[in-house]
Symmetry: C2
Subunit: 185 residues, 2 copies
DNA sequence: TCCATCATCTTGACAGTGTAAAGCCAATGT
DNA sequence: ACATTGGCTTTACACTGTCAAGATGATGGA
């Protein structure tokens, strides 16, 4: 779903803003239209209804997501070891889920779609994480290591997202780094 | 949110059935009411609106979930090793996410709530998995091992849920067992 | 220049949704 | 006998997504 003009991008940004501000139930065709200053039916016309708009927003979300991951890697000092580079990327992953919960949920809710753009950018996001796993493969299967690292990170992100600061949570903050060492160590 | 009478449980079961049959957007107060043969406002009266009903359904979902995990463990032969017992439980975890996607999503969407019943049963579900990690702790921190195993399983479940059978998926079926060995091995 | 075409966006209408207020009604307690 | 409560219905309302029809303006060929 490629934007036809200027308005499409404005609508997507309005939707992202609504998700960040009001959460999942804040995302509404009519609210997006009002925020963009157009009639209530304009969004549906551009994105083929609400499902199309959700896919477009998820696509934008993955672009922001990938950007965050890459920035986290680039912000590391040049002499950082591969573990700390991987850790920085994965912390960005978890931070994104924590700071932009509604958008993060929408992104992974919309994944089982046929839309090519969404699948492409989602895959590109995965490649960033995948790339930082390479130094740790050793004589193991690369897919196994990548799967373990990704699933660990994604699962941890979901739990941190669900329970921001629960004193009795089974998962503590420091546990992630320890767990990651188990996987790549 | 404890049921006041018979109808409450009927409404919950109707909601679960709607989720299984029609997916996330099939869950509607009015559809639940129609299926239960009561007026459209009855569900809201019992559960304090849609949010309360969703919490009640998520609570029921975690009970089914925990039941599945325990049954998977009990179905293993008595001489099974601890790894195959853990694997059986985690396969049940992944299978639940795959077979009851909408309910699974709702369960973890509703987790960040104050509802005590929901938090209690969710925690009890986690304990089942936690318990099977004990043989692999060794001299490591128990929380790290449990976190790694749980996050790996949950993350893998989410990916299998999103992409049922994609030929180009970065995560293959056999990868989970390999990844789990990395963590507990 | 004129006219057809098309994309963009608006307007109006409709069914479906959650929610709140009011009412009904049987059971219960005093 | 009477008031009260809980369980459920009825009614109404605002909000939602979607569709059909129309307005507006740009494009592009004759």
């Amino acid at each position: 779903m490629q934007p036809k003009g200027d308005l499409a991008q404005v609508l997507i940004q309005a939707g992202v803003a609504l998700l960040d501000e009001d959460g999942t139930e804040g995302l509404t065709l009519r609210r997006i239209a009002a925020r963009a200053g157009v009639s209530h039916a304009a969004p549906a016309h551009h994105f083929n209804g609400l499902p199309g708009l959700r896919i477009a927003i998820a696509t934008q979300g993955f672009q922001d997501f990938r950007h965050d991951l890459i920035c986290a890697r680039d912000a590391m000092p040049a002499d950082s070891g591969p573990f700390h580079r991987l850790l920085a990327v994965n912390h960005a992953y978890i931070r994104f889920a924590r700071c932009r919960t509604a958008l993060f949920r929408l992104m992974f809710d919309q994944l089982p779609t046929q839309d090519d753009d969404l699948r492409t950018i989602a895959r590109a996001s995965y490649v960033v994480l995948q790339h930082h796993c390479a130094p740790f493969v050793g004589d193991r299967k690369a897919a196994s290591v990548e799967t373990a690292v990704w699933a660990l990170t994604h699962g941890f992100a979901m739990l941190k997202m669900d329970q921001p600061y629960p004193p009795d949570s089974p998962v503590q903050v420091s546990s992630y780094e320890d767990a990651l060492r188990l996987v790549v160590g």
